[in-house]
């Protein structure tokens, strides 16, 4: 009889809380978005599954001794997982289009205004009841505007670990929503003629230039902003392995098996941070709202910067490519291409948008380093 009681007490039915049930629904929603809507499935599927696993009562997966607890401890608290992902992303990135048109770096810079405007917005939100973001919290939230998953997770793990779950979910969700969020803003800020502008073909870029570029980026970063070197350093290592041409087996492993393994673990660990106490609060709503602001402001400032540049440039510049400066590689560049084709069926902007797109990755990593230096 006693053992039957033990059994009953060990079923979840006797121990469930509403919060846990709610978080499981959130996990299920993320799985739905990942599988049916194809919203960044590589991350949102493990995150959603991790959220379910972490909220099972009595299973202890997220408590000392549990799998998710260990994964979080080893990979996120140390910052290792986002850095390894960033190395893999570096190995997957081709800087050719950026090198062919260096000025597009400024578009990647302008789009980071989304980050800093959101920082201001998060602090302003404190005037509402229920919100009490510190500068560190606000900075971690603002980085959603960087539209770059590993950067957001890395910064949040340093500045506001208790918000990490909500921030990562918001970042990946909005990255998936880029095709919905960006086009209206892009159309609002440009005329049809501007959107139809064709750009000149990009020059081919030499192998040496490509090898030296990641080293130049690293060198500038370590001089100017050492706090950004973990992120930018690993990114540049990945890119150097890619371009050096002498360590292809390492580069391929970084692009494939290593990034895949780390992605599974990173997703589960982020999911493990989706606990009811931290996620089911008005703060999360604030974070989601601020994330939308961040993406929108970033898109707008990128487009406006491109319009300014177009005015002063001798060569034609299509202002749409400014929208790709938020990063969200390669989705944002594809959106630019699509909107450009709508205005002019012969206007292929994809390669032109890849420049600001990868510039945005560097820009938001710089912004993250800066926030670490100032409020870390």
């Amino acid at each position: 009889m006693e053992r039957w009681m033990m059994l009953w007490n060990s079923t979840a039915l006797s121990a469930f809380t509403w919060g846990q049930a709610g978080m499981m629904l959130v996990g299920a929603l993320l799985l739905y978005l990942a599988i049916s809507k194809k919203f960044e499935p590589l991350l949102l599927l493990p995150i959603g599954f991790g959220a379910i696993l972490a909220n099972i009562p009595l299973a202890g997966l997220n408590e000392p001794g549990g799998l998710l607890y260990y994964i979080y401890l080893v990979g996120i608290e140390t910052g290792i997982f986002p850095l390894l992902i960033f190395m893999g992303v570096g190995a997957l990135t081709d800087f050719g289009p950026l090198l062919a048109n260096p000025r597009t770096l400024l578009l990647g810079a302008a789009a980071q205004f989304g980050i800093f405007a959101t920082l201001l917005g998060a602090i302003a939100l404190n005037s509402l009841p229920g919100f009490n973001f510190t500068l560190a919290d606000a900075s971690a939230i603002a980085i959603i505007g960087g539209a770059d998953g590993p950067t957001a997770i890395f910064l949040a793990s340093r500045l506001a670990p208790e918000l990490l779950g909500a921030i990562a979910v918001a970042a990946y969700s909005y990255m998936a929503l880029v095709p919905i969020i960006q086009p209206p803003i892009m159309k609002l800020l440009t005329t049809k003629e501007e959107r139809a502008v064709k750009m000149e073909q990009l020059r081919p870029v030499g192998r040496r230039e490509k090898i030296l570029f990641p080293l130049a980026v690293l060198f500038l970063t370590l001089l100017v902003l050492p706090t950004a070197t973990p992120l930018i350093g690993m990114f540049c290592l990945g890119n150097l392995m890619r371009e050096a041409g002498v360590v292809d087996r390492l580069s391929k492993t970084a692009q494939n098996e290593l990034i895949n393994i780390v992605t599974i673990f990173l997703g589960l660990a982020v999911g493990a941070k989706l606990s009811a106490a931290e996620f089911l609060s008005v703060q999360t709503l604030g974070i989601l709202a601020l994330g939308a602001v961040a993406f929108s402001v970033g898109t707008a400032s990128g487009v406006l910067m491109a319009k300014v540049m177009a005015r002063f440039s001798s060569k034609p510049i299509n202002p749409l490519i400014g929208a790709a400066g938020v990063s969200a590689v390669p989705m944002a560049a594809r959106v630019v291409n699509k909107v450009g084709l709508e205005a002019n069926p012969n206007n292929f902007l994809l390669m032109h948008a890849m420049g600001p797109n990868v510039a945005g990755v560097l820009g938001s990593a710089v912004a993250a380093g800066l926030l670490l230096a100032l409020v870390g």
Binding site: F113, N126, F219, V224
Partner: protein, 75 residues
Amino acid sequence: MNELLSEALTIMLIGMVTVFAFLTLLIGAMAILRWFTAGADQLPASTSARTAAQPQEQLMAAVAAAVHKYRRDRR
């Protein structure tokens, strides 16, 4: 609260200046880089692209060889 806001404003200012300064410096670095590597042969770059193509090329080479052998044998 008001103090926090002004801090946030300062960070925004510093942040945008730094980001622009950094990326502008990088534009300069890229110009130097281009000038520095101008002499070098402008190889078609992107080894990875080349390596990715390799299996395909090997395949086509093998097919070509097989077809060539077949053609020769038929004579």
